[in-house]
Amino acid sequence: MTTTGLTIIADDVVDACAPWSAIVRAGQTLQIIDLHGNQAVDTLFFDAHDYANRYSAVDTIRAQGRAYLGLGSRLLALDGEPLVSIVADTCGRHDTLGGACSQESNVVRYGEHTRHMHACRNTFLAQALGWGRGLDKRALTANVNFFMNVPLTPDGGLDFADGISAPGRYVELAADRDTLVLISNCPQLNNPCNGYDPTPVRLLVWSAA
């Protein structure tokens, strides 16, 4: 990042199928760049000082009155206050209904042959155990899938559509409080969420001044 007046705290390229996690402090910004396009970035958020106070997709959806995330969305914790807010978005729509892939859901969706493929919930479980302090399987609920396009059809069908993202599109999240962010750069190969080709993303964290 060359913009003056900003302090870069992290600048990481995260490979397809790889994890990333950090505490983004209140006032800092996390930018996620879809380097190659159509890459789903599965993300969980927790209050960094109380992991039981986690991102709540249902409260976020209900409060904004809209099923998809985009510019202006405030990602609420269970306490009803935002963890992070989307302050820039060149993609336009992000999913928070479809959850994260797992070995078990892959088997049910695609067949037994997919059981031992990479899966985001394995990545999340391993990261949760690494952070400790009560962060375990029970704490893992609904996540955000940045750059993933899952429009609902009029009769309720979930249409895992081709990505609406493209190389270089990004989303910026301003932290409203100290927030633990866990990312699984989705390895899913069985639907169009990654364009059948999981690719790296770039993650930047900066603070003003």
Partner: protein, 250 residues
Amino acid sequence: LSTDSTTGARDHARSQVRTAAMRVPATPPDVEPSRLLWAESVPAGSYATRVLGRGTRLRLIDPDGGACAHLLLFRSDAPWERLNVADTVKVPWQAYLSAGHPLLSDQGRVLATVVADSSGHHDTLCGMTDAGRAKMLLAAVKHGLDIRDVAPSVSLFKGVRVADDGMLGFIGSAGPGAAVDLLIHLPMVVALVNAAHPLDPDPALTGLDVLAWRAGEQLTTPVNDDPEYLRALFNTETTWAAAQTSEAFE
């Protein structure tokens, strides 16, 4: 009755049950009374929880048109496995619940199947109000669980629909008398909260009737032949079979 002595207070306490009026849902006419396991009316704002065995048919009824049943499910023999609403909408490629829809766990198993539904007004997107979630937490705590286990729930009898632009529309109730039947596939903690839907602009909550009875014979007839449903059912059945004691087969 005087209550200024222990015996007086005891007699007064014991006398109340003879005169109290309490709603108890009637056993359905097609259910053999000896099969009945649970009959309870959950008042507006309250909750109920029970462990139900595999093969139980659970019927939820909105007799007066104002109930909203928020539901969570946990395997009673493995409570870290629970209802996963994201998988419940993703795997069947369908966000709106109706008959035939599986309620899936995070481990790729069918916890329960919606086997009958005369409402069609349900919600998998919006969760509960703070008041509803507080009641759900009480239900969870009674089973040794805690706030981390109170994952996103589904709401029955109050519906939400999503417009093309993603905006949520509250469609309310289908009217008095609607019922939803769930077939329970594994031993299950059922937690129900009868509380306002968070998008309801004018919640006039009424009681929720709960009935459950033994219906194990229904486990052998899948109500849905989607390949995803059959795979999840296979996962459930093989998990159940593998956990049985071998002595039973000797």
